[in-house]
């Protein structure tokens, strides 16, 4: 059946659809404000008129391309095209400032390719088995997964700034409280504004915190690239050694997190980024442009693509919002998720999965070929760059929901971020709190309901215990470090 599927994929119309989808995906991913979810939902009525396989590979291409595309502006302009590219921006942009944007782009595209291909392979070979794993995760496990992510704040903290990082995390959690209470449905801190009913819009806040803040800082400089660097030539560097470990880590974490229904690429990218940060020998380089961070984050978010399709195709439970839109595309062709998808509709389903390998190859080719040209964006004088980026940022914030309020959110967060950065607070920690707060809250409340009010539910379940073990393991090295720094060497008395 797989052979038959490969044959039907080789039809010119299908190949063209994969190519168009992937290229469109890179563009959609690269523009802040345009999302893969939006693009796939828009394509659904279009695919109605197409052959099911052609329609599906088109949407699959968009999904794969968008996940990679988000990293390009993240690296070059510190403007994450998708929320999943925030971690990439934290490492990639400093490299661009050092005149090494080309290298950052290369690392990003190769990691994206490996992560995407690995997770598609997992989807192809072990989808039904892994679906059982996904089902083991209930609300208590989601609560602990969020805690596991929040533990990352400790590793995100720069030396001596742990307290400030924790405060930033709490600030993020506090902002996440705004909106509708997930359990009672009551409105919290919305101040009667309709725009806040669904909480603070995430993407405009991100664009403000990263892109606008950076543009403000750039106003005194002539170029993004530091002036000490030879601006005339962007070096072509070979891939740094030792990245394989981090790409492997990211691919596994991304695929696993992707399989969990409802979890997204942003969390996958952050968790694998934090793990890499903890296990790297070059820990001190993190935050100042470490290719290892890009490798982990990008393989992590692209690993989500294949992973998120595991529960979507086998159980009809979408792994994230893009997969949910894709599910709509399957249903419109009468293809109902479940075992039948792999038997009765096998040719189309396997054709779709195989097309994702192709989509990954296409963006690898495009990414590698264009990396040196993209990198030249960092040489544009700031007098042209700043207005351009600000314009697109404002437009992107508006376009997400067609809401002018979101532009104010962007500006507000830009000011907030500027103040926080000057004060030495961690933006990464704030974002982790913002993303994980709602997941932790819902998981905790639902877990308590399942446990009929008893906290025991968070300790007695098997997967919970494993997650607790991981959380403790992650906290041991920072705790030891803290002990060494503060207890064994008494703080010199201030005189």
């Amino acid at each position: 059946m797989i052979f038959e599927a490969a044959q039907s994929l080789l039809a010119p119309s299908a190949l063209l659809a994969v190519f168009i989808g992937t290229v469109a995906g890179i563009i959609v991913g690269g523009m802040p404000g345009l999302t893969a979810t939006m693009a796939v939902a828009l394509l659904i009525p279009v695919t109605y008129a197409l052959h099911p396989l052609t329609g599906l590979v088109l949407m699959g291409g968009v999904y794969c391309g968008a996940m990679y595309g988000g990293s390009i502006p993240a690296i070059l302009l510190r403007t994450p095209g998708t929320p999943a590219a925030v971690a990439t921006a934290m490492e990639g942009y400093p490299l661009t400032q050092q005149g090494r944007g080309g290298l950052a782009l290369k690392v990003s595209v190769i990691s994206s390719f490996v992560g995407g291909t690995f997770s598609t392979l997992v989807l192809l070979l072990t989808a039904p088995l892994l679906a059982i794993f996904a089902l083991k995760f209930g609300p208590p496990e989601y609560f602990l997964l969020a805690i596991l992510g929040l533990v990352g704040i400790v590793s995100l903290a720069e030396e001596g700034k742990l307290l400030k990082a924790l405060i930033s995390g709490v600030l993020g959690l506090a902002i996440a409280v705004i909106g509708t209470d997930p359990i009672s449905g009551n409105l919290r801190y919305t101040m009667g504004m309709r725009e806040l009913f669904d909480g603070v819009s995430f993407m405009p806040a991100l664009i403000g915190m990263f892109s606008i803040t950076e543009m403000l800082k750039l106003t005194g400089a002539s170029h993004i690239v530091h002036e000490t660097v030879d601006v005339k030539s962007i070096k072509r560097e070979p891939m740094p050694k030792g990245l394989g470990k981090f790409i492997g880590l990211g691919s596994c974490v991304g695929t696993l997190v992707g399989i969990l229904p409802g979890e997204g690429a942003t969390i996958a990218a952050f968790i694998s980024y934090n793990l890499a940060r903890q296990h790297s020998k070059n820990r001190r380089l993190f935050g100042k442009g470490n290719p290892e961070g890009i490798a982990a984050a990008e393989s992590g978010n692209n690993g989500c693509v294949g992973g998120s399709l595991v529960p979507t195709l086998t159980l009809g439970i979408p792994g994230n919002s893009v997969a949910a839109a894709l599910l709509g595309g399957l249903l419109i062709h009468g293809m109902i998720p479940g075992p039948e998808l792999f038997t009765k509709h096998g040719v189309i389903t396997y054709g779709f999965i195989l097309s994702m390998f192709l989509a990954n190859l296409i963006f690898l080719g495009i990414g590698l070929f264009f990396a040196p040209y993209f990198a030249r964006i960092s040489l544009i004088p700031t007098s042209l760059l700043i207005p351009g980026v600000c314009l697109f940022s404002a437009l992107g914030s508006y376009a997400m929901d067609g809401n002018i309020f979101d532009v104010y959110v962007m500006l507000g967060f830009a000011v907030l971020a500027l103040v926080l950065e000057k004060g030495g607070f961690s933006l990464g920690a704030l974002i982790l709190g913002l993303i994980l707060g709602p997941i932790a809250e819902t998981g905790f409340a639902q877990g308590l309901i399942i446990g009929h009010g008893s906290l025991g539910v968070f300790f007695t379940r098997g997967p919970c215990q494993i997650l607790w073990a991981v959380i403790v393991l992650l906290l041991v090295p920072p705790a030891l470090q803290f002990y060494r720094n503060h207890v064994r060497q008494p703080i010199p008395a201030a005189d």
């Binding site: 979810t37 209930g138 609300p139 359990i183 309709r194 009913f197 229904p261 929901d401």
Partner: protein, 314 residues
């Protein structure tokens, strides 16, 4: 000569914009969908557009997804839109009336002109595949002995009201677990994290057919043609009925002339064989209701929902 030309020219100049103004729709018509892209309400809107373009050639329609807060954000936005007919929107039950009843909404049913209903999604009771409960009677009997954890979509949703109705009818008390939507409910049932879930047919029939979950009752008057083996609540002695309807509304302040045009378009789409075929292929269950019919349905539902709210406010 000139004296004659000037008034004529003036008349033309003044009449031209007037004539242009009468040409509704002026620019794209925005359809507010109070849920996320890719969901079933979203799919209904997009199929509506495909068909509507046939009847209004040249007109453009844009979907605006306003998800979250149980649809409230979207409903409010439809009610508050500029009343020029360029913005119409979708409503779904029971949320649209539940927000009014719980005094959270700033709109009332009077804020809308109801165009009509297109489809519905019957309420079902579903249990994990290895669950010992095969019928509603099994389930209700067991619920008397222990507190059953039951997943519903958010508070005030059709699932929530249906569960409340069942509690009253069977004389039981559930341990209700509100979720953010069908994805969480599906995962909770398939993973056996809850004892049962009240949800909609379209969300679970594939899993039922594949043996990954078991639907023990459908809460409508008649069995579904999709799952003829699943008995109704009425057949099993629990006369609880609930379904999620999806219709179209527009701000009540829109001029009557434009409302007439919109109502006419809605009826044409509702009866368009192309739309019916596409909706059926997408496993949507058609439940055509005209504007007055659907308004009466919504008003009755509001009264009923209020009764449950007054008994135990949420």
């Amino acid at each position: 000569m000139l004296k004659r030309i000037i008034p004529v020219a003036l008349a033309i100049c003044l009449a031209a914009p007037l004539a242009a103004h009468a040409e509704y729709p002026e620019g794209p018509v925005t359809i507010i969908v109070p849920s996320k892209a890719g969901g079933s309400t979203d799919a209904t809107a997009r199929l509506f557009i495909l068909s509507a373009k046939k009847f209004w050639p040249g007109a453009e329609f844009v979907v605006k997804n306003v998800g979250g807060s149980g649809g409230q954000k979207g409903f409010e936005e439809i009610a508050a839109a500029k009343p020029d007919g360029q913005t119409i929107g979708m409503v779904f039950t029971t949320q649209v009336v539940a927000h009014i009843v719980s005094k959270r909404a700033r709109y009332t049913l009077d804020s809308f002109h109801v165009m009509g209903n297109l489809n519905d999604d019957p309420e079902i009771v579903v249990v994990p595949p290895e669950s010992p409960y095969k019928t509603l009677a099994d389930f209700a009997k067991a619920a008397k002995g222990k507190s059953m954890t039951v997943a519903v979509n958010g508070i005030g949703s059709d699932d929530f009201i249906a569960a409340k109705k069942f509690e009253e009818n069977a004389g039981v008390d559930f341990n209700l677990m509100p979720t953010k939507g069908s994805t969480e409910q599906k995962a909770a049932v398939l993973g056996a994290h809850v004892d049962a879930s009240f949800m909609n047919l379209s969300q679970m029939f594939a899993q039922h057919k594949a043996g990954q979950a078991r639907i023990i009752a459908i809460l409508t008057k008649k069995r579904s043609t999709l799952l003829p083996d699943v008995p109704t609540g009425i057949e099993q002695g629990y006369p609880v009925e609930m379904t999620a309807t999806r219709g179209f509304v527009v701000s009540a302040k829109v001029p009557a002339k434009i409302i007439k045009k919109l109502d006419d378009l809605f009826l044409k789409v509702q009866n368009d064989p192309g739309f019916i075929a596409a909706a059926e292929k997408d496993n949507q269950f058609l439940l055509p209701m005209t504007g007055p019919e659907y308004l009466k349905y919504l008003k009755d539902l509001q009264v009923e929902t209020k009764r449950y709210y007054d008994k135990s406010p949420w």
